[in-house]
């Protein structure tokens, strides 16, 4: 019966449609290849070596330190980069988007990015006595990405249900405050960790109240809430916290756990499995969300509310209730991430200590294509870029800090240039459902 619908004879009518060429990727790759050539290859003295510790004493491999001839290594890496840039030009010119299962856009930029960063590191430690600790570079990156990951997860949940959560910043800050104060009062970091989500949830509830119940523009409410939390915590900080430091601002710290066996896997072991407790919590949250959002009843209904709320309503899903509950949940996730700033480090609360990480988390969510695993990767990229300056500082490299602050944005350029695929926001995010 359906033959007339499916056999629409499209093949008879359609000429081949030419995709417009996109030159973003090859141009970006070429520019960075030239940077590598001029900035790294030519400025490294001949005969210098770069020493990188790949594994440390504890692993199954024992200690492993590579001594690379800097200049040769840089030449090899630059040649690979040039080849990838060439492949990019070829692919754009011939309108090739994939070879076999390999998507040109994403894979070339990922491999290129790794090469470029490696070249930068080899150059930075060339001819120095100290050794670059590769594992601590990565595990530091993971740790620094924690608030970004939690924030991005909060954003992902909220946006999929149809609410734009700009108040991640405020939720992180509220979580940081709550974790520190409760942790200090109870002298127990675990109680602090448990209460941090409550603070985030309260901000989430306020967002839901105004955005879902009163149809106020989501972005405006979000920004207002950020200002509110900043003001409130700063006020409490300067009145209550500073006057009674012993009670409110004594520091507690979540422990760092070393998972037996797993932590001894070379390279990734110490990165993934010698971490602060909050990092393990993060693993669980990301995996749960990735599975539940796309495979569970909760996730299906939640996404239905963000894509086509009216359709969800006609199927008996209570749209606004779903939106409110999950916006609160999102706030709680961000609040949990706020604990990173205080009790994960063993620090007391400080004014505006989240320093805009909530907004970077939003960027990570978008870069990750509104998917938990994508947002995780994006947040890790930001975390890595952030950590570079710490790692290099330890080695004693003098890179201007302004340049290092640019690193996350350079990373973004790569990622966006490679992001040629279709990434789409939930269709009805930010639009009130009026029943």
């Amino acid at each position: 019966m359906s033959t007339t619908l499916t056999q629409l004879r499209a093949e008879d009518l359609h000429h081949e449609v030419l995709r417009p060429r996109s030159w973003k990727l090859p141009i970006a790759l070429t520019v960075f290849t030239l940077v590598s050539l001029a900035g790294f290859c030519f400025t490294t003295p001949a005969g210098a070596t770069s020493r990188v510790a790949i594994a440390t004493g504890n692993s199954w491999l024992g200690t492993l330190i590579w001594s690379l001839p800097s200049q040769s290594a840089l030449v090899v890496l630059t040649v690979i980069m040039a080849a990838l840039a060439g492949a990019g030009w070829w692919a754009s010119l011939r309108r090739v988007t994939r070879v076999g299962i390999v998507k040109i856009g994403s894979w070339t930029s990922v491999v290129f990015g790794i090469c470029f960063v490696s070249a930068f590191l080899v150059w930075a430690v060339a001819g120095r006595g100290s050794v670059l600790q590769f594992t601590s570079l990565l595990s530091g990156a993971l740790f620094l990405s924690v608030p970004l990951v939690f924030g991005a997860m909060a954003g992902t949940v909220c946006e999929h249900v149809g609410v734009i959560n700009v108040s991640i910043e405020g939720q992180l800050l509220a979580g940081a405050f709550m974790a520190a104060v409760v942790g200090s009062l109870s002298r127990n970091p675990w109680i602090g960790l448990l209460t941090a989500p409550l603070a985030g949830a309260v901000i989430g509830a306020l967002l839901a109240l105004f955005a879902v119940r009163y149809w106020v523009d989501h972005i405006i409410v979000g920004v207002v809430l950020n200002v509110l939390v900043t003001g409130l915590t700063s006020y409490l900080f300067s009145t209550v916290l500073t006057h009674n430091t012993a009670v409110f601002s004594s520091t507690v710290r979540l422990p760092t756990w070393k998972i037996p066996l797993l932590s001894q896997i070379p390279v990734i072991g110490p990165v993934l499995f010698v971490q602060n407790v909050l990092v393990y919590v993060m693993y669980v949250v990301v995996i749960l969300l990735q599975v539940l959002l796309f495979r569970s009843r909760w996730g299906l209904r939640l996404r239905a509310c963000g894509e086509h709320p009216r359709a969800a309503d006609t199927l008996g899903v209570k749209v606004n209730r779903t939106r409110v509950l999950n916006t609160i949940l999102g706030g709680a996730i961000a609040g949990l991430g706020g604990a990173y700033f205080t009790i994960a480090h063993g620090l007391a609360f400080g004014k505006q200590m989240t320093a805009g990480r909530g907004y970077i988390a939003l960027a990570a969510m978008i870069l990750g294509g509104w998917k938990p695993k994508g947002a995780l990767v994006a947040a890790l990229l930001f975390g890595f870029a952030d950590n570079l300056q710490n790692a290099l500082g330890v080695v004693g490299v003098q890179v201007p800090s302004q340049f290092m602050l640019m690193a996350p944005y350079l990373v973004t350029i790569f990622a966006v240039a490679g992001l040629v695929g279709k990434v789409r926001a939930p269709a009805m995010e930010g639009k009130p459902y009026k029943g």
Binding site: M1, S2, T3, T4, L5, T6, L8, R9, A10, D12, L13, H14, H15, V17, L18, R19, P20, V291, R295, S296, R297, L300, R301, R303, A304, E307, H308, R310, A311, A312, D313, T314, L315, G316, V317, K318, R424, A427
Partner: protein
Amino acid sequence: MRLELRQVTKKFGDFVANDAIDLIVEPGQIHALLGENGAGKSTLMNVLYGLYAADDGQILIDGAEVTFSGPGDAMAAGIGMVHQHFMLIPVFTVAENVVLGAEPIGPFGMISIRRARALVTEISARFGFDVDPDAPVEDLPVGVQQRVEIIKALSRSAKVLILDEPTAVLTPQETDELMDIMRQLRASGTSIVFITHKLREVQEVADTITVIRHGKVVGSASPQTSQADLASMMVGRQVDLTVEKTASTPGPVVVEVAGLTLVGPDGRLLLDDICFSVSAGEILAVAGVQGNGQTELAETLIGLRRPTSGSILLHHSDAAGRPVTEDLAGKSVSAILEASVGFIPEDRGKDGMIAGFSIAENLVLDQVASKPFSRRGTLDVAAIAANAADKVTQYDVRAASPSSTVATLSGGNQQKVVVARELSRDLALLIACQPTRGLDIGSIEFIHSRILNQRAAGTAVVLVSTELSEVTALADRIAVMYRGHLVGIAPHDTARHVLGLMMAGVPYDEAMSPDQSGEPGDPGQGGPQ
């Protein structure tokens, strides 16, 4: 299941959308709900489906009163609905859409995709649908999406299925197939409430007809009732269903479109090498299922989109009356309007008027910068008001005053304002897109007669319409579009099923050949299996 509505009333503020409506749907019956746009059919069904709460009245199922606080309750009671605008989530797969709200749960509390898939396959097989449960809905043609909606309703064991204007988005062949599906459903004991304003479909498939006008039931009829009688019940007066049209006397060619190609920003081919010409005093209708490039064609002709290649030659006379030929391709909208082209956009609310402006202002939107409506950069309010008073009488715009905003007008009166503005200049070419969409029959008649007047006055008219009845009523020739491609140009008396095949991409010669021109009611491959 026997469904009964008693004295159902629904008000929106002062407006009574449904006024004490009684309706009985017997089991295993196709019950047509016939009425004009805005008569209150959809409102009534949304009340029945639990989306709106009735202000008064009762709903009874098998004699027992029920109250629905939401669609969930209605579904549980065995009522399913296929909405006019599909309630499908584009990024979900067919299976996910079907089970949403009633998900089968497998191991670890996850949705059992296997069982969801099996459900879709089972129901598809029962009705001979060929639907891939794993296909994302956004990739499916509308006809298939509609089947997904039907599967969704049946998967919740609907005993009464409401179909709200289901044929609006279908080709004639797909419409015929849908009617077969409706008969199959009836045979299996499902009753159907079929909402429509198309008389032909009602006569073909309905068992009982209830006619609604201005929110009230005005009577019921049998399918044997003539179209003229049904129409007069629907409108409340005698309606002349055939448009008075004289034989066409085309003059010289006014517009020649050659090789018109438009590539969208995403690289999709929106218009593919379109060639046609229209003569003075001729109506060329552009038919096709919504979304096959008609909108893009009209927008390219009027200059809202810049064609990738091709030409649009317009032969007209300049201000001094000398004949000139201009290529409109790539010209600005204002230059094209200047070249005496008029444009009635398909979405009057969005593109045809400024809702917050007064009727008088909307009537001069395109001429507000020139004499006589402005002088030395200042609006001549008196001239604008005089023009408005004149046009409001001439076009029978029913409004409190010409200075009230167009937002306060009914759809028909809004469209009259748009048409009055566009026809107030001497036109060489008129591009009219969906000029009567969503209007009542009175307004439709009025606008049709105005378009025919233009034809008589020697204007070349390009009429873009997805309503086949409008196309056949007005056209001198019919161009059919499919996926951005002009399938062919057919004479105005081409049979409905031939046009239907062309709308599915079959070229004219092939559509006319004997093996394709079977009986209109039989799609050939159709029938219960």
